[in-house]
């Protein structure tokens, strides 16, 4: 009886050993195959890519022209682009990447988003009351959004929502104000605005026509007190070719630009403004805006 039990135990032990040996053998062979394959098929990935990516701000905004920070880092290590193209990174951050890769950073002049509309609720009239989704894109689908000026800012703040950098805030008259220190010129607000009011401009170009109204004559001042009436005074007094009247709107040619405050002095409505980090400075010749509250709906 005891012998039989011993035999059973022995067989059990052997089976366990066989199982261990068989599985061990199979896994060993496979491990060797994989180890060899790993040697043969090893892909060299530039270790600098990850390091450079860590130095980048991880905003993935696309302002550099690449889909995100990782592709930008790849292009950087290949020498296809320059660290200065990143508009989000701080000066120190750009220098750090440039030093790491042994490059000299070619900085571009800082660009910021600027709004070509100054028609806040205190100067621009609404002709209809919009009661729908609080979004410019939705409102603009319904007869342009109800504002007297078809081209004007609707003020629901799609740009404020879309801005990843907290650089846009709405002021008390429902106009977006860009904090130029925070703005990285990623272009998200340019894309989202249904009225195409934002554009990316060099920060050093402080002169801006803050209007897109294409109508002509003083009648449009009824709709918005700071509209461009296409009077042409600015164009006449500016250096030749710097300001032109195109389709009833003053347009500044930034390729032929001098930073001077003369045009804002000449503008009778205050449509041409001097941008100073979010503040719109107007000339002294135009009628000053003292109204604080919104203009009434519809009536004239």
């Amino acid at each position: 009886m005891q012998e039989k039990n011993g035999l059973k135990l022995f067989i059990k032990k052997v089976t366990i050993l066989i199982a261990i040996a068989a599985l061990g053998g199979i896994t060993l062979v496979l491990a060797i195959v994989l180890a060899v394959a790993n040697r043969k098929l090893y892909v060299y990935e530039d270790p600098r890519i990850d390091i450079v990516e860590d130095m980048l701000p991880h905003a993935n905004c696309g302002a550099c022209g690449y889909p995100g920070c990782k592709p930008f880092a790849e292009a950087l290590t290949k020498g296809e682009t320059n660290p200065g193209k990143c508009t989000v990174s701080s000066e120190a951050g750009i220098d750090q990447i440039a030093n790491y890769l042994g490059l000299t950073a070619e900085r571009e002049d800082k660009k910021v988003a600027r709004l070509a509309c100054a028609g806040g609720s205190n100067v621009a009239r609404k002709r209809a009351k919009y009661e729908g989704i609080k979004s410019c894109q939705a409102a603009s689908l319904i007869s342009g959004g109800g504002k007297g000026c078809f081209w004007g800012c609707l003020g629901f703040g799609d740009c404020e929502t879309v801005c990843d950098f907290d650089a846009i805030s709405m002021d008390q008259h429902g106009l977006p104000v860009v904090d130029e220190d925070k703005c990285t010129a990623c272009g998200d607000c340019v894309e989202v605005c249904p009225k195409d009011l934002f554009s990316l401009q060099y920060q050093k170009h402080q002169l801006l026509v803050a209007c897109k109204n294409l109508e002509v004559g003083d009648e449009i001042l009824e709709e918005c007190e700071v509209a461009c009436t296409a009077c042409g005074k600015c164009a006449m007094d500016a250096p030749k070719g710097m300001i032109n009247i195109e389709s009833n709107l003053a347009v500044i040619d930034y390729s032929n630009y001098t930073n001077s405050q003369v045009p804002i002095e000449r503008c009778p409505t205050g449509a041409i403004v001097w941008q100073d980090n979010g503040f719109m400075l107007r000339g002294t010749s135009h009628k000053s805006i003292i109204r604080k509250e919104s203009r009434p709906l519809g009536s004239s």
Partner: protein
Amino acid sequence: MSEEPLWNIFINASLVNNFVLAYFLGICPFLGVSGKLGTATKMGGAVMFVMLISSMCAFGIHLLLEAIGAPFLQLISYIVVIASTVQLVEMFLKKMSPALFKALGIFLPLITTNCAILGLALFQTNKGYNFLECLVYALGAGTGFTLALILIAGFREQLEYADVPKVIKGTVLTLIIAGILSLSFMGFSGLGN
């Protein structure tokens, strides 16, 4: 079983008892990687390759386990073999075609736990196929899988441009197409056993 002609095995595995549409094996890549025709074709190729290799290995391992009297290790050994093969394919793809590697994404390592492949290894053991038959069976199963993937990818690409009701857009529509495809593959059931 050896009286079954090879072409019969092939047709049986690829059409009549299509792994995806008749057995419902390997559904996750079938739904997950079938968005684009190109990716689907290559995924099918990768699965077919893994099927062939693991079928061969499974045949050898089955013999080995029978010889040492430990057939209870079958399942776990198959899993190990399949996992290693997938690892091999992954390395190969990463080296040869990084774009495809990225496109397949998580579904490439998921081939490891693809039930179609483990199912193939177990079926062929159960049916007692010889080596050549195993290869043909694996080839048939791989072809069937690729065929199903290509068919549904084609449908889905076309439907991207179609104006379908909003409620069934996306996953729902994919599942409906899969059902209809499965239904139509029922028609092959008269062909064999």
